[in-house]
Each structure stands twice: as C-alpha cells, then as structure tokens.
Amino acid sequence: MPKITVDGAPYEVAEGRTILQALDDAGVLMNGVDIPHYCWHPKLSIDGSCRLCQVEVEGIPKLQIACNTPVQDGMVIHTQSERVEQARQGVMELLLVNHPLDCPICDQAGECKLQDYAFEYGVQHARTREPRRALKKRVDLGPTIVFDQERCILCRRCVRFCREVPGTGELSVFSRGDHSVIETFPGEPLDNDYSMNVADICPVGALTTKDFRFKIRVWFLEDVPGICTGCARGCNVHLGVANNRVYRYVPRRNDAVNETWICDEGRLSYARIGADDRIAGHERREADGRSLPASIDEAVTTAAERLRAVIDRKGAGAVGVLASPHATNEDLFVVRRFLEALGSSQSGFAVVTGRSDDLLIQPEKAANAEGCRALGFGPAAPLLTRARGGAISALLVLGHDVLATDGPELLETLRGLDVVLLADSHHSELEQVAQVVFATRVAAEKHGTLTNHAGRVQRVAPAVEPAFEAHAEGEIVWRLGRALGLPGFEAAWDPRAVSKALSEAVPAFAGIDLDSVPPGGVPKAGS
C-alpha cells in the first residue's frame, strides 16, 4: 500500500488510485483536505477538464490535477501552496467570465459550488467588461429537469451520469470551444428512472428539478438524514425540512446501498409524508356504522375490548396479525412479542411488488420486508386462508399492501371476521371493514430501524411531527398488550427499551440498537 503525504499528514492509500480518489477513500476530501473540484465525482469516470483540482506534487514541475494523477509511494503533495491557490483563483475567475451571475434569481443559490468556491477561492471583483454568452434559458429537458445553458460550466457530470449510470445517454456537449453547450438529441428528452440525479450532481444552477424549483430557498431547509421507503433498497437520503414539512429528498452517499444516487420515483416519494390521503388521527366505528375520531386511549380501549371478547370466546389462537413491511424492526418486534404473549402463532405479512432494475430499484415496494422475514413473519396467504376458513376471528392489519397482493376477495374475507383492527398511514378501502383505525407514523416521523433487501439495518429518526395524532405501529401494539394485561407489556412504551430487547432477543439483530447504528447502517448478522 503506497504511503503519501498530503499537506504534511501521512496517508496509506490503495494501489492504483488517483490522489482525489485516495483522499476520498480516506474520508478526508473536503473534510480536512480541501481540494475543490467540479468535474470529478466519486461515482463517475474521470474527466480531468475543469482543472480546479490542481495540486503541487513534489518532483513534478507543473501542477497536476489531483483527480487523474495516480498515487505513488512516497508522493508528497501540497494542496494549499501559493501556486495552487493562484491556479484555483485563475480557474474560478475564468469560470465566471461567462457566468450570468444571476444568483438572486437562481434556485441553486445556497447550495451552489460556483458560489461557494468563488467565495472561498476566487477573486473578489470581475474584470470582464464584455457581454456574457447569451444562451438558452429555461430549457425543458424532459419530464423532470429544467436547464439553463448560460449557467452551465460544462463540467460534463450530467453527460457522464446519463451514459454511465442509467446508461441512457440522453445528454451530450455539442459544438466546441466557448460555443460548447449541453444538448439532447432532437425529440429525445432526458427521461430515465434516475434523471433527477443530474440536478444533484450539477455543481451550479444549470440543472434543476421541476419538482423542487422555486419551492423554497435552500437555506431555510434543514437536512435531516433518513431513508427512502419507496422500495427495499433503502436509499439513504437527506430530507429537506422546513416548517415541519418535507420539501424534498436528496440522496445521501452510502457506498454500500445507493452510492450517491436515488431513483426518481423514490425521490418523489417524499410527497407521501405530507400527502392529503394520510389517515389523520385514530377512529373507531360506532355500532351504527359511523366512524368517530378517537384518542389513542379510546381507540386502544375499544380495540382491546373487541379482542378480549374474541379471546374469551374462541381462544388466543383466533387472533392474528398481518404485519407491515413499512413498519420498523422495532415495531415488528413488538408485534412478535405481542403474539408470543397472547399465545397466538397467527401471523404473516404482505408486500407490494413491482418493477425492478439492476441499479437500485428493488421489486419489493416497501422499506422493511426483509425485517418482516428476519423477525419471523411469513407470507400472508396461509394466514388469510385460515381467516377464510374460520380459524381466525380477529385480525390486526398493519398497512394495506395486502389489498394489492390479495385482490378484491380480501375485503369479503375481512367482512366475515368478528374483529378487524387497522393500523395504517394512508387511506385505503380497508378502513371500510375495520372497527378501529389507528393512524400510524411513517418512517420520517419516528425512531427505529429498517432492514433493506440485503440485510442492512438502517436508522430512521423523526424529521417532522405529524399534524394529527398518530403513533408508531409498535406503540399501538404495545398499548394493546398493556390494555389486555399481557405479560411483558407492563411498562410504559419506550422505543429504546424495545430496541435493546430486540438486539438481545433476536440473534440477527445482536448488537444493533437505536443508539449503535452508524449513519451508513450496519448489516444484520448473517447478511
């Protein structure tokens, strides 16, 4: 392993890496060692054209671009010398020669690398007196992206992204010299499952998403780490939060999960958090069929009474739970404990499946189907067969994926049961057949962990508070257990205690609890 020295600090780096790659591997790039760069991106091929990452390498007379210079044992690198600073200043000044400097009306302002680096490394006043390049504004590149040619600094990240990641290659640089512009082929828009990533990697305000444009200035947003729950991949994201509202997801780098990307569908799934079809508070159904709002205590009391009646009449084995792949591992563990305490083995889970690809998109359209399996939940079908056959009289249904997997006859089956309790986050037909409806929290509203398709356990934490009363599935079930007087449910709800119990009780989760999961997640045992 070659040893290099950067600004006096030694690093041991992998063979065959370039200076920027090696510093990125070591986790110090722009995080201790500041080498500003535009065209280089850790997950794209090396371009070497912006020339901003020039550094001084002892023994080489010319400055070298750190992105493309292979490390060699004994290399001594200076990233902050006067020559380097001058070169950076030169690049910054030249990049601004044709830039429109329209920051006040640019939506990138606040997260613009041109703005940031110009401030950090550039010259303080413009020496250009000529008109700047006049190019196309507000170009509609496709369903998701708007392009401003004048702001583009031609780093070609977007071009390489489309060619190298989704492999669709919609973008290219046409013409040459200072006439160079990014274009699409006539009639072939930028339209792929990952198109919006180009807005993330665009260092300037040239590419912006139609979804987020002009919604809010980014400096009002707090970036809260979280997980996209659109599929079993569990892409790491930052939730952009302001005024207790999630305005967007942007991918958060996790080389073991999503690298630096996210699919468009997942990205836009943030809208589900604040959607109009959320179940906004608990409800219970009167004898005459009317639904009335209920407090958690009222809902739990009603639900417990109904369950108690079934247990007394038919035994605990007549109570089943349909678990949700949207619930956290902790929620699911509580469900498991509940069933054990009750003495029922009637459980299963359903998950909606759909299109997948070999990049990120997973067939299971929920964040924690793997957690369901890891916690011993089997498929829903046997449970539902038993329900149809009369062996089950009360069913607690978490989530409504089962509607999609089991078809219309499901509602008939449920109507035939004595008791149906629903805990869900969004409206569905299931509410029609439930006597009690609990409003649940989504992943962005609660503490917990999720197990992705590959068995990686990742942390979620509240980024926003629901505007109505809603509870995590785990808490709802916990309260039911308490109301039923089940052993082990005596204490008040405490997610941390549940998490600890989970890590002690289930070998797959040994050593994993809310406080120990690192920001990038951790594989559960055996994954």
Binding site: I46, D47, G48, S49, C50, R51, L52, Q54, K62, L63, I65, N68, P70, A87, G90, V91, E93, L94, L95, V97, N98, R127, T128, R129, E130, I153, L154, V173, S175, R176, G177, D178, H179, S180
Partner: protein
Amino acid sequence: MQKAPFVTSYLTEHTGDDAYATLAGYRACGGYEAARKALTELSPEQVVQLLKDAGLQGRGGAGFSTGMKWSFMPKGNDRPKYLVCNADESEPGSFKDRLLLERAPHQMLEGILIGAFATGAEKTFVYVRGEYAHPADVLQRAVDECYAAGILGANCLGAGLRHDVVVARGAGAYICGEETGLLESLEGKKGQPRKKPPFPAQFGAFGMPTTVNNVETFSHVPHVIAKGAEWFRSFGTEKSPGTMIFGVSGHVKRPGLYELPLGTRLDEIVFEHAGGPPDGRKVKGVIPGGMSMPILPASQLDVPMANESLRERKTMLGTGGVMVMDDTTCMVRVGCIITYFFRDESCGQCTQCREGTGWLHKIMQRIERGAGAVADLDLLLDVAGKMEGQTICAFADAAAWPVQGLLRHFRGDFEEHVKHGKCPFPESFEL
C-alpha cells in the same frame, strides 16, 4: 501550389516531377531501396539506433527525437501496435505537408514502412485533414499502388513484414493535430485531447500502443536509412540536424516553400530567399514557426532557425511556418486574428482554454476598437498566464504564447490604440 520549393534539398529534390508521385517515378529515383535495406539488412533496434544517431527530430511542432519516440513502443506482439501519421496540417502559416502529400506520397509511405518495421506496428493510419481532399486522393492512389506492387500488405517487399496503411480523413478541427485529439478523431469521436496518463505508447489508437509522427518526419526517414546518420548530420546544426521545409507567407516578394538546413538564419530566409518585403516597406515582425509561436521583431531576425537558438529569443521552430509582416501591419489586428483562431478552435474541454481563449479575443477586439484601457494590456498577459501550462493539452499554451509575444515586442502598438482610442495604422490589412 508550387510543385517544388524555390530551394530544394533531399526531401524535395524530385517533387517538381509529376511522375515522382507515382510508384514508377518514385522507384526510378531509388525509391523503396531504403525500406528494402531496413527490412532485409537491419534489425528494428538498428533502425531506431540509426535515427537516434542521426538526431532526427519531429517536424510537426514539438521537435521530439523520433528514434526515442519509436523506442517507447512496447516490445512483443501481445497487442496490435499502430503507427499514426499526422497529416492534419492546420497550423496557420504551415503548408509543407501538403506538398509532401501531393508531390511525394511514396517518400512518406517508405518512411512509414520503415517505422512499421522498427516498432512492430501492424497498421498505419494516415490522418489527413478533411480540407486536404486532393492530397488525400493522391495519397490513396499511392497506397493502392503499393498494395498492387506488394510493398504493403501481407508480405511487404517480400521481406515477411505485414503492414497495412489506411488513409483516414478529418472533418475540420485544428485540435485534431494534437496527437491525442487526433486519436479520438480517428476513433470516430470528437477530437478532444485525452488526459494523460495513459500515454499513446501504452494506450493509443483504439486502445493499442501507438506512435504518432508528422508527414515530414516520416519523409526524412528513408534518407537517414539510405545515407546514414553522418550524412544526415551534415545538414543543420549539431542539436538540430537535417533540413526542414519552411513555408514563407505574408509580406514578402516570393512567398512559398524553401527546403533549407535547420539553423539557416531567419533573416536569410525572409530577405535572401523570400525576397524581403514589397519595395518601399520594411519588415515589422516575423512569426517564425506557425501561429502558436511567439513573434519576433525586425531587430531579432538574426537568429538560426533551430530550437536551441530560437528558445533564447523566447520563441520556437514549431512547424517552420514563417509569417512576415511589414511596417503597415497593425499588431493588435494580428492579435485579433490570432486570438479569434484559438477561440474558434479550442475543443472546449478545459476551463482555462475554453474561457481564456474567448476572453483574450474579446479584450483584443476591445483594444482594436479603441475602447481598451491601459490595464487591459496587463489583463491580456494575466489571462494568458492563467492558461499556460494548466490544461490537458498544449493548445492553451499555444493560444497564450503569441499574445505574450505580441506584448513583449509590440506593446507600443497596443498603447497607441488605447491612447488614441482608435487604430493608428490606416494602411494595415483589414479585419
């Protein structure tokens, strides 16, 4: 186009004869005997050594040792190796390769064949600039003749060497004269130079080990092989042996081509050979080696045309394109043309080049219009300085150097524009 230079030497001795462009005519002058000698009597190492001993330097602009370049090619045949002949002559002021292609294609092909033997290359791509349609046609005919005569193909000259030559045509982009820009273009892409590493000797055309040489460079090779290193060194200077074909253009009585030993003095070329400026005019400045090379003022023309001496005057031999400007010439207009050219031809990859070439041109135009300020002169130098030595290829340097040269020697012209708010040279050529 003249058929033969006004002054000829070994490269152009026969170019005046139309038949010399045909195989029969070339053979009548002893053609392909050097290749036969190399392929049958010498080893590849001996050929390379001979070129090193002769001290042949590339005639395409950079002046690198040809023998050294050939020795960089990896040995062994685990991957196909290629030669590329750079016939993308587009350096303004240069028109020598066009003569060699049109009038002496076999001389160059013989050099290529010797190069193929020395480097183990299985194929040569001759990349001819797209505008040179006629030279490319002439060359293609010569290549066809070689195949028919068994000089190229499966058993070159009956000596057991396999070699193919492909004539590829460009499509109008100066940057394709840069060797890795050329390789990209040859592969059917935009001619944007490649970042190094990797270098062409390891990863060249189509990913294979490749050596790129200029038309004139290849044309010298048969002569070195036939007549030896010592003979070759009898021309030129110790550090720069051989002749070079100089193209003289601009304000001279006899513009044209001159094959002269390296080290011939620039003033001799301009005044004695090319006849000097039109009567009643004086020389103001001379660009000695194609547009990328810094200009020299009339007072500094007493310089031998060889890199070792031109470097002392902060310029270089380049492609030997000598552009002469008389005393009517406005050097700011010259600056406008030069900066426009580089702006137009920048491939647009590197920030400094893409933005710098445009900015230089804008400043230059501003000064020419009379709208410039004194500070603009230093701004030109500052921008040129920011472009120099910092980009993927040397194009940005080539765009910066002439601007620096103009300000070094003709700052007065620029100051006059600023002072009077207009161009003070009423007789200068139009823009």
